[in-house]
């Protein structure tokens, strides 16, 4: 039972791709082996910045022999058919068996595929996997045509059993597999050979490479935590950063440094952003004050001076970045204290938002006007909402956001506070961009909600007016996200409004119906994620008040619940039966049977009962709908199930007697009319 060890040694693999690549390597190689008949006991894959490694234990030494029997043509079939069969099987006529079959005598071929040694199969599978590896982005180098994530330098591929290790005979684009690898780029660059996975992992560790990404991450976290703890501080947890940093080093050496007293009064978001985005530093916080006081950086090597030079260099880079940040922060604060946030926003007049939609300044004026209109719907004070709208984009003109675009909104909040705004205005600066995606929080403060809605509706109506709508995969202005944002803001804050009327107050010239249809599409996607079927939503979109999303969703939720009940499902079937018969007959006759049925013409007891049931249901449905109590309306509708079923059991609609027939069609029309008041059941599938 040999073990396989494979290592693909390359130039530095992007950190974000390593874990996935290791998993892909394991899945693809083991799948390939199994498909070729080589089963195995276990497999584990690893990644470092410079290598992907895979260990497969307990492989079969060779694939089992496979016997296959294939049925050929009949003995009396034309010669051509036999020739084809012989070609396909690679046999001669005298090697075939002849057996009796239902249809007569038939040729059979017994094909035996002998087992193959593991090394041969491994060589084929590894070559296939390397040549077709699913890197998110891959490249060529030098004069070769092989693609890999970065230049591939060597392949280690050995099979080890009790007799020892054997190098697999494999060559890909001039790279011949061997049993050799190299250690850490700087600390132990020489090559060495290995005999099995344990030997490989142990020798790598001696050569200053920790093979396991998890082990590197654990090491970093424990070291960082201990260093911070020793000084009464805590490391700000950041799993994504930890994984990334573990993918940047083969031999992690954790170093902690001071931020410098001059920078401690910067907002923590500024410190964290600057350190994380640019330097991949962890932030170290004083738990008593919440202030970020130190940083942790992870080097890729030990040095004779215990990292002093490295730390000094990192200090310097950080100090340069933070000096910039402090300079921006102080300039910005001075600006807002002198000329206020509206003064800061003045520069937006000359920033083009879109050549057809004017400047950012124009946009702010529109958002401000729109915010005034939306404020009462959300329960915000119109003046306050307009004030917020005038300043929420001001920080785009700040030096800090110019340097750190990811701080937009957050800086707005700080600067709004510094400029003396309150009552939810600073929060609106930060929150009016939200929600940024399906997973992002939705703001709840009335001013924030108002401006967030006004901002997005201005965008949507604007781009609709100039006919720059998303098409297919193209949505350069993220309008789908904006529409989803409006949907979530309204639903999660239960904002009642007729969107069509709001659209009219947005950018002039937008086709409000078309925009509403776009919202309905986004709503379908959103509700599908919440588990509501698209046909259920369609059945509700067809109803009056469909531009009030809260109402629309309440109706859809009630309908979804209703359809899950027996009554709901059967009533829908009954409704459809009534509707189908009626639609067919109306088409044939060229009339609409909307004259109202006459109860006096009812014959069977079931028919009479249906008259009564419809009256009763209608009497309950109308007030329920008026009170927006969809559950009650649907429960009233559910009571029609039994009478409708009974009616169809007992009565022939298309009676010989034309008077009776017409009366019954008018009765079906009433069923349709009453049900359609609740939801458009015609849209329900199945």
């Amino acid at each position: 039972m040999p073990d396989l060890l494979l290592e693909l040694f390359s130039e530095e693999i992007p950190a974000r791709m390593q874990a996935r690549a290791a998993a892909d390597l394991k899945a693809r190689v083991t799948d390939g082996l199994v498909e070729a008949g080589l089963t195995y006991a276990g497999a584990v894959a690893h990644s470092t910045p410079r290598r992907l490694a895979l260990s497969v234990q307990g492989l079969l030494a060779e694939s089992p022999t496979v016997r296959e029997e294939r049925k050929g043509p009949r003995v009396d079939a034309p010669e051509k058919a036999l020739e084809g069969f012989l070609r396909a099987t690679g046999l001669t006529k005298d090697q075939l068996d002849i057996r009796d079959d239902k249809k007569g005598q038939v040729y059979f071929a017994a094909i035996e595929k002998p087992g193959r040694p593991a090394a041969e199969i491994v060589a084929e599978v590894v070559e296939q996997v390397v040549r077709h590896f699913p890197w998110p982005k891959s490249m060529r180098w030098g004069t070769g045509s092989l693609r890999w994530v970065r230049p591939l330098h060597s392949i280690l591929c050995i099979l080890t059993d009790d007799a020892g290790a054997e190098t697999v005979d494999l060559e890909i684009d001039g790279l011949r597999a061997g049993d050799v690898t190299a250690g850490h780029r700087f600390m132990a660059p020489s090559h060495f050979s290995v005999t099995n996975f344990d030997d490989y992992e142990a020798k790598l560790k001696r050569a200053k490479v920790i093979l396991s990404a998890e082990e590197r991450a654990d090491h970093i976290w424990v070291e960082a935590h201990n260093m911070a703890f020793a000084q009464g501080l805590e490391v700000v947890e950041d799993k994504a950063l930890l994984a990334e940093v573990a993918g940047l080093v083969e031999w992690p050496v954790v170093l902690m440094g001071d931020i410098g007293a001059a920078f401690l009064d910067l907002p923590p978001e500024v410190l964290q952003t600057s350190m994380k985005e640019h330097q991949k530093f962890f932030s170290v916080r004083n738990p008593k004050t919440g202030q970020i006081e130190k940083f942790v950086t992870v080097a890729n090597r030990e040095t004779a001076d215990d990292g002093a030079t490295i730390l000094a260099g990192n200090h310097k880079v950080l100090a340069a970045r933070l000096s910039d940040a402090k300079f921006f922060w102080e300039n910005d604060l001075r600006t807002v204290r002198e000329i206020g946030l509206e003064g800061m926003a003045a520069g937006l007049e000359t920033v083009t938002f879109h050549s057809k939609l004017g400047s950012q300044g124009d946009r702010i004026k529109r958002i401000s006007t729109l915010a005034r209109e939306i404020a009462p719907l959300v329960g915000a004070k119109p003046d306050l909402a307009a004030e917020a709208a005038r300043v929420v984009k001001a920080d785009l003109q700040s030096e800090m956001v110019d340097e750190f675009p990811e701080l937009q909104g957050i800086m707005g909040r700080y600067y709004a506070e510094a400029a003396g705004h309150d009552d939810g205005v600073p929060e609106a600066c930060e929150e009016h961009y939200k929600p940024l995606g399906p997973g992002d929080d939705v703001p709840t403060g009335p001013v924030s909600v108002t401006v967030a809605l006004a901002d997005k509706i201005d965008m949507l109506t604007g781009f609709w007016a100039i006919d720059e709508k998303p098409t297919g995969s193209k949505d350069p202005f993220a309008l789908r996200r904006a529409a989803l944002g409006v949907i979530r803001l309204m639903l999660e804050n239960a904002v009642r409004a007729n969107l069509s009327a709001v659209f009219v107050k947005g950018y002039a010239g937008a086709d409000a119906d078309d925009l509403l249809a776009f919202f309905h599409d986004r709503l379908k996607v959103h509700l599908r994620d919440e588990g509501i079927r698209h046909d259920v939503i369609d059945a509700c979109i067809g109803m009056p008040g469909n531009d009030d999303l809260v109402l629309l969703v309440r109706r859809a939720e009630a309908l979804a619940t209703f359809l899950k009940t027996d009554d709901g499902e059967n009533l829908t079937q009954g409704f459809k039966r009534a509707n189908n018969i009626l639609t067919d007959e109306e088409r044939k006759d060229g009339v609409e049977y909307s004259f109202g049925p006459d109860a006096k013409l009812a014959e069977a007891a079931e028919e009479k009962a249906l008259f009564g049931a419809l009256d009763a249901a209608e009497a309950r449905i109308a007030p329920a709908l008026a009170a927006e109590d969809f559950a009650a309306a649907m429960s009233a509708m559910a009571d029609l199930r039994q009478p409708i079923d009974a009616f169809f059991e007992a009565v022939v609609v298309n009676a010989e007697n034309q008077i009776l027939r017409r009366n019954r069609l008018n009765l079906l029309h009433r069923i349709r009319e009453i049900c359609l008041k609740v939801a458009d059941l015609r849209r329900i599938e199945g």
Partner: protein
């Protein structure tokens, strides 16, 4: 590793001289800057055009680079509207390109035993040149000191063979090596020279002058016209038949056409600094420059240097 770490250089120019010497020793043709305004060393025809076609190539050179929007009137410690890049292009990319690169750091006095060098993912793309490649930004103790790229496509053409490209931001690198915090304070020549000059002595005034011109004075109407002229001239040059009626020789004018592409690209950068280009127009302008770059690349591969005969 390419060489032993040397003593630290003492001036900006010594950093440059050492890089010139090092890459010259590695077999690169040490070329001179291109005599036009460009945004980056990549624009030099020794990189853009020579990365195309099948013929081998190795060049290294300093390229003054202009980024009008980065002007700060000479006040910012790190930002300049005019700065220097050191550019290396080797085709095909040698197998030991990373080691050669690390050797260049040692040549300018960075001791590999004391510093932390990291290759951090950074894919390079130049929408104006229709070019992209994969590689890294190289960090030294957390500071980006170079861009390291394997060109995959230039001017819309797949690169075969692939060129390896290095770009060093010279001011930043030299400031790091020399331990200087403000670029204007960096010794330009030897501090013990009879007339010691700082970077500020040489460039502070020009930074101020150009910042003002770039941001506020450049005549946008004229620039827009120049852009269109360059665009038209590029197309006109390439529309000329390959055979020269005077000499009877086949002369495809890829380089003169490419000069117009460079010109258009720089004028676009100036217009951008003047703030007269909107977000949507931006894409359109970039597309227009890219179209020129592609035409020039198409023409270059029809020349001998572009590997036509090979």
């Amino acid at each position: 590793m390419g060489s032993e770490t040397r003593a630290k250089p003492r001036s900006f120019q010594e950093v440059i001289l050492r890089l010139q010497e090092y890459w010259g020793r590695q077999g690169c043709a040490v070329m001179q800057p291109y005599d036009m305004e460009v945004g980056a060393g990549t624009f030099h025809p020794a990189t853009t055009l020579r990365s195309l076609g099948s013929l081998p190539w190795a060049a290294a050179y300093v390229q003054p680079s202009r980024r009008p929007t980065d002007g700060r009137y000479g006040e910012n410690p790190n930002r300049l509207q005019h700065y220097y890049q050191y550019q290396v292009l080797i085709k095909p990319s040698p197998p030991d390109f990373q080691a050669l690169y690390l050797g260049s750091l040692e040549a300018i006095g960075i001791d590999m035993g004391l510093h932390d060098i990291r290759f951090v993912e950074d894919d390079w793309e130049s929408p104006t040149l229709g070019a992209w490649g994969l590689g890294w930004e190289v960090w030294c103790d957390g500071m980006e000191v170079s861009q390291f790229t394997y060109f995959q496509q230039v001017g819309g053409h797949d690169c075969h063979p692939v060129s390896g490209e290095l770009t060093y931001g010279l001011e930043r690198l030299a400031m790091y090596v020399l331990g200087i915090d403000h670029v204007m304070e960096m010794p330009y020549n030897d501090p013990d020279a009879p007339i010691p000059l700082s970077y500020g002595d040489v460039f502070r005034q020009t930074e101020e002058e150009y910042s003002r011109w770039n941001f506020d004075v450049a005549e946008t109407g004229t620039l827009l016209r120049h852009f269109e002229d360059a665009e038209a001239e590029c197309a006109r040059i390439l529309a000329a038949p390959a055979e020269d009626p005077k000499t009877g020789k086949r002369i495809v004018m890829a380089h003169p056409a490419y000069d117009q592409c460079i010109k258009a690209s720089h004028i676009f950068n100036l217009l951008d600094a003047r703030g007269v280009i909107s977000v949507t127009e931006r894409q359109a302008y970039i597309g227009r420059v890219r179209a020129l770059a592609k035409m020039c690349a198409d023409a270059f591969v029809q020349t001998d240097a572009g590997g036509r005969a090979a």
